[in-house]
């Protein structure tokens, strides 16, 4: 510990230079934190997936409908604990297409499938009992300033009501939320009661979009899924059943490899930082050759001098990195507030912190080793004589 003052003295020998380097390191790690949060958000679908949940969609395309009558038959498959169904409403709110997803569901069945969502018991009760009822995710409620008890006028782009009118109105009876930020993104939706919806719509009555199935043993997921699909094989509406996680991964892949795109951007960022700080470190050591020679004259061993230089590099990157990551964490609440449900909540997970430390240490080694090596091989006589 007694070398800390020496370390700091070395680091702040030229204040402007160190501060500027720290700032650029900070910005790099802030980008790292923010972009990794985006990757996390894209992968959160798969991470928050419940291994005991299966999804059944139409076999040939996710947009085809399935008969509502499949519900009882699915429930009869051994290993199935419960099932629910949902259908895409195609919402248009305040003239914006797909402003948020709206699903027509059987309230009790659907909420039973997702124990990770929290709905106040009284509000859940109201949703079950109100045929024109709707509940909405907390982030949506905040974004639009909705109040429980108000009417929600939402148009559909897909489902006309009997008579051809595309405008619908629901009663907002409750709010859905979730503790875990990875799950909270899944509550950015409005649920409406299918009882009213199915009765009032013009087309496709008695059909639904997909089924959500809860099973007792996640180890049997494959067999149960195959069993469900066998039930409907060779019928006009064949099915495809898969664990929720597989479905989420497949969907993320439709968007493409976001992770790879972001990794490439970050590689460019850190390469730039490597060059910047590498140059600063090299320059700083070059200027201090005589000082290092004096340290050695005073009895500092080669190893100690090496460690001193390395520690300086590590300190620079760790301080800059920590401040940058902290800045990213500090910015996220504002970002999330402004996207409000258009994008899943961004957050920095533990893995990102570990990644940041790993990157900082790796960069410190790359930046610090060449000057440290130089300091180690320094011959006192030459250095003091001013030969470089």
């Amino acid at each position: 510990m007694r070398f800390v003052p020496l370390l700091l003295a070395g680091l702040f020998r030229k204040k402007t230079r160190t501060v500027l380097t720290l700032l650029s390191v900070m910005v790099a790690f802030m980008l790292f934190g923010l972009l990794q949060a985006v990757t996390t958000a894209f992968e959160s679908g798969a991470d928050s997936a419940d291994a005991k949940r299966l999804l059944t969609t139409a076999r040939y395309s996710i947009i085809e409908l399935l008969p509502l009558s499949y519900l009882r038959r699915i429930e009869g498959v051994p290993g199935v604990v419960g099932a629910a169904h949902a259908e895409w409403f195609g919402a248009k709110y305040q003239n914006e297409s797909n402003a948020f997803p709206v699903f027509a569901v059987d309230p009790a069945r659907y909420l039973d499938m997702y124990p990770e969502f929290t709905v106040a018991p009284a509000e859940r009760e109201a949703f079950v009992k109100t045929r024109t009822g709707a509940i909405a995710g907390r982030r949506l409620v905040e974004r639009f300033g909705w109040k429980v008890g108000q009417k929600l006028p939402i148009a559909s782009e897909i489902h006309p009501r009997a008579g051809g009118d595309m405008s619908w109105e629901f009663d907002l009876v409750g709010v859905i939320d979730a503790e875990d930020p990875a799950v909270q993104g899944n509550t950015d939706m409005v649920l409406i009661n299918v009882a009213h919806f199915d009765e009032a719509r013009q087309n496709a009555r008695g059909r639904t979009g997909w089924y959500i199935i809860r099973i007792a043993d996640s180890g049997q997921a494959k067999e149960i899924a195959a069993g469900i699909d066998r039930l409907f094989a060779n019928s006009p509406d064949e099915t495809k059943t898969q664990p929720e996680k597989e479905f989420a991964i497949g969907f993320a892949k439709q968007i493409g490899d976001i992770g790879a795109l972001i990794s490439r951007i970050l590689a460019a960022v850190f390469f730039t930082i490597l060059i910047l700080t590498g140059n600063t470190m090299a320059q700083s050591i070059r200027e201090r050759i005589p000082e290092l020679a004096i340290l050695k004259t005073l009895g500092f061993s080669d190893t100690r001098v090496t460690v001193l230089v390395l520690a300086e590099a590590a300190l620079l990157l760790l301080i800059g990195g920590a401040v940058g990551m902290a800045a990213a964490v500090g910015m996220l609440p504002f970002l999330n507030g402004s996207t409000g449900g258009r994008f899943p909540p961004l957050y920095v997970e533990t893995g990102t912190w570990i990644g940041a430390v790993a990157v900082a240490v790796a960069l410190a080694l790359m930046v610090g080793l060449p000057p440290a090596w130089r300091a180690r091989r320094l011959r006192i006589v030459d250095a003091l004589a001013g030969h470089r």
Binding site: S61, I63, K253, T272, L276
Partner: protein
């Protein structure tokens, strides 16, 4: 005049000894190249996507959807309505007197990307015979067109590149039906090149649809007046609840969400990187000046003014950042231009393939950002250089 000559002289000296300060100078160049490179490559993705949608459709063509639907996927046009709409007088006719209108249905089919197994929503379009006459830009580049009333498809050039098993002669199975790929078409790099096309009648029966989703037609008169005629005729008839869009207007709208998303990502990342690079540039210019302290002081001592010193330092920073900007843009061009990509378009919920496009405008943008970083990073050190007391600086070494 004297000041100008002084600037030229000092700048020339500075630039000539740049190679001696190669390390420091390279740092500025590389730092700024990173910013320009990332900015240009991310924006080239948005530009390619926008270009693909913007080059879809012609001004003299319209697409009609159910009123209230903003995309074909959510629209519905009944069979009898489609026939009535096609026979309106504002719609052009071919030599034989048949309307140049094609009622179309669009469904999604699941196909894996090349070398993968996960399904993707690939748009499958059933078109009527007039579709080819309406869209003159479409040419079959391999194989032939599909025959009517049989399960044959032609595949867009980009769809064939991106997805597995779409070569001429291959068979694809969707929903109790087997289809044969008989041709590959190109249509000027537009969004239809990401689609699979078949005969509308065969497709409606195979996918068990009753109606269509849209009607694409050519106007007799492509001007605003011609469009107004059609719109008025559609509005007047109480049987229709239809919205008429000019094709380019409709397709431009389909690029909104994704384009915004990519642009926000690109500019945010580039802005932060630019901030980091500015700190780096400041650092390098400060140390460049520190190493030339005596030289600058000497110049001042023999009568050079401080303005020429400031300007010359600034010019050096600008030259370095311009090299960085050009390098970054060049790398983005080498690595990204023409690379193709397929992603889910959130507006249509279907896959759309497009190429990265590095345009001159984007390269200009990269260079502009580079120069701004150069100015911001160069001015404070330049001012410091000019303010240095001559006597102090001369004594410094």
């Amino acid at each position: 005049m004297r000041a100008l000559r002084q600037i030229a002289q000092i700048t020339w000296v500075n630039l000539r000894n740049l190679p001696q300060r190669l390390g420091t100078s390279l740092v500025i160049v590389i730092g700024i190249a990173g910013v320009a490179g990332v900015l240009v490559s991310v924006l080239s993705m948005a530009e390619g996507f926008r270009h693909t949608l913007a080059s879809t459709g012609r001004g003299d063509r319209v697409i009609m959807l159910r009123a209230g639907s903003d995309a074909e996927m959510s629209s519905g046009v009944a069979r009898d309505q489609a026939a009535l709409l096609a026979s309106l007088p504002a719609i052009a006719r071919d030599g034989a007197g048949r309307p140049l209108a094609s009622a179309e249905l669009v469904v999604m089919v699941d196909l894996p990307r090349r070398g993968q197994t996960d399904p993707n929503n690939v748009p499958f379009r059933g078109v009527q015979a007039a579709a080819f006459a309406i869209r003159e830009e479409l040419t079959v580049v391999e194989g032939r067109r599909f025959n009517r009333a049989v399960r044959e498809v032609i595949v867009g050039r980009r769809a064939a590149q991106q997805f597995e098993g779409l070569g001429v002669g291959s068979r694809i199975a969707f929903r109790d039906s087997d289809w044969t790929v008989v041709g590959i078409f190109s249509s000027g790099g537009d969004v239809h090149e990401s689609e699979i096309w078949a005969d509308a009648e065969v497709a409606t029966s195979a996918f068990r649809r009753q109606g269509f989703q849209s009607l694409t037609a050519r106007l007799v008169d492509g001007s605003d007046a011609g469009l107004a005629d059609l719109t008025a005729a559609v509005k007047r008839d109480p049987r229709f609840s239809i919205r008429v869009w000019r094709e380019p207007e409709y397709y431009a709208k389909q690029s909104k969400v994704l384009e915004t998303l990519i642009n926000v990502l690109g500019y945010t990342v580039a802005a932060f990187m630019a901030l980091g690079a500015t700190f780096g540039a400041l650092n390098c210019m400060y140390s460049a000046i520190a190493s030339r302290q005596v030289e600058i002081a000497t110049l001042r001592a023999i009568g050079f003014g401080s303005a020429p010193v400031v300007v010359s330092v600034l010019i050096e920073a600008l030259v370095l950042s311009a090299i960085g900007g050009a390098l970054g843009g060049g790398l983005a061009y080498l690595y990204c231009d023409g690379a193709s990509l397929s992603t889910l378009n959130f507006d249509t919920f279907s896959q759309v393939a497009f190429d990265f496009r590095v345009t001159w405008t984007l390269l200009g943008k990269g260079l502009l950002w580079a120069l701004v970083i150069g100015v911001v990073g160069g001015v404070p050190p330049a001012i410091r250089a000019a303010r240095l007391p001559v006597t102090l600086a001369l004594r410094a070494s």
